[in-house]
């Protein structure tokens, strides 16, 4: 676990580097993503319309109204 990097190389690039098949981490490290710490914004609602008719006809669709609580 002594991966040395140049100052220009990012941490993620260091984790993902493999030359001639030599690679020391699990496969999932290869697909890790680096982003700004402040970029993870989760939007909880949207006004966009979705076509969910295929889903809402499912017998497992649960009709719940806030008024039931």
């Amino acid at each position: 676990m002594s991966t040395k990097t140049t100052p220009e190389k990012s941490i993620l690039q260091s984790l993902q580097q493999h030359d001639n098949g030599k690679y020391m981490f699990p496969l999932y490290f290869l697909y890790a993503e680096e982003m700004d710490s402040g970029k993870q914004v989760i939007t909880l609602s949207s006004n966009e319309k979705y076509n969910t008719s295929h889903f809402e006809t499912s017998p497992f669709y649960k009709q719940i109204s806030p008024l039931t609580y």
């Binding site: 991966t3 941490i11 993620l12 098949g21 020391m24 680096e34 710490s37 719940i64 806030p66």
Partner: protein, 290 residues
């Protein structure tokens, strides 16, 4: 916590920093208050910008040992009631998959491999294969950046000849994802319509903030809820968040349990008021077992 206070009962929430502060002077004392609800067990590795150090791994294990001790301690204290109690056993994804299969749940074809050849030997030609962490996954951050991993489809051109033992699974053709919060025998489920966006179709946590997935209340078939109950009892978990897939073939496929149950988005999207359910559960336990 507000609900517990509202009902007139004391309660404490512990984050890692609280545990460290508490342990400074009271390591072997009772952590105060008759109820404890541990919310998150975060493993945030603070890393240097240019070098991956063995020290980070040592810190990780040091931290884990302290948490294990604290969990065991509060769990054995009279008057302390802990939900989402986790340990090295029930948080292990392979143990979870093994037990899920034993209780009759469908699971994806799963293997641990160390080389590229095994991929073609284990899976049919053309079968897409995903990889993910055995543990919670990679979360590293410094002040500017955060590194996260997701469940990802394995790309042949990106795959080295050999690698560290890695968890791989067949990719299930999803109709939608289901997240179920389990609390003491009850299932509260939400369907996540993650297939509407390319970004989220493999792993919905790769949020598409401009077009977020629709999340709606969902009722699992009774047989699946019974299997979840059996699984959680086998894992000795009173609560947790279960990831399932409804396949296009109509199967309910178990993926994993997160013992630290993230219930917030299931509760808010589906109006389940899980905060109140959890408060009621803790109060019931306190009244009947203290």
């Amino acid at each position: 916590m507000d609900w517990i206070h509202h009902c007139g009962y004391p309660c404490q929430i512990f984050y890692f920093n609280d545990i460290v502060n508490f342990s400074k002077t009271n390591l072997f004392d009772t952590p105060g208050g008759p109820m404890v609800f541990f919310v998150r067990n975060q493993y945030d590795w603070l890393i240097e910008k240019t070098e991956i150090s063995n020290a980070n791994f040592s810190l990780f294990f040091e931290r884990r040992e302290l948490l294990n001790f604290f969990f065991e301690k509060i769990n054995s204290e009279e008057g302390c009631h802990v939900i989402n109690f986790t340990n090295n056993y029930n948080g292990n994804k392979l143990i979870q998959l093994n037990l899920a299969s034993k209780v009759g749940m469908k699971i994806p074809r799963t293997a641990i491999i160390t080389d590229k050849t095994a991929l073609s030997e284990m899976f049919d030609q053309g079968q897409e294969v995903v990889t993910k962490s055995l543990h919670k996954g990679l979360v590293m951050k410094d002040k500017q950046r955060i590194i996260l991993n997701y469940t990802s489809v394995i790309l042949a051109h990106k795959t080295p000849e050999t690698f560290f033992p890695s968890l791989v699974q067949e990719r299930i053709d999803k109709a939608y994802e289901i997240r179920t919060f389990y609390l003491q025998g009850k299932c509260y489920s939400a369907a996540i319509l993650s297939q509407v966006s390319e970004e989220t179709e493999v792993d919905f946590r790769k949020y598409n903030s401009s077009r977020p997935n629709r999340i709606i209340p969902y009722q699992l078939p009774e047989i699946v809820e019974q299997q979840i109950d059996e699984l959680m009892q086998a894992l000795n978990l009173s609560s947790g968040s279960i990831d399932l897939i409804k396949s296009r073939d109509g199967d309910f496929v178990f993926l994993e349990v997160n013992p630290h149950g993230h219930f917030g988005f299931v509760s808010s999207h589906c109006n389940y008021y899980l905060e109140k359910e959890i408060a009621n559960h803790l109060i019931y336990e306190y009244q009947n077992h203290s």
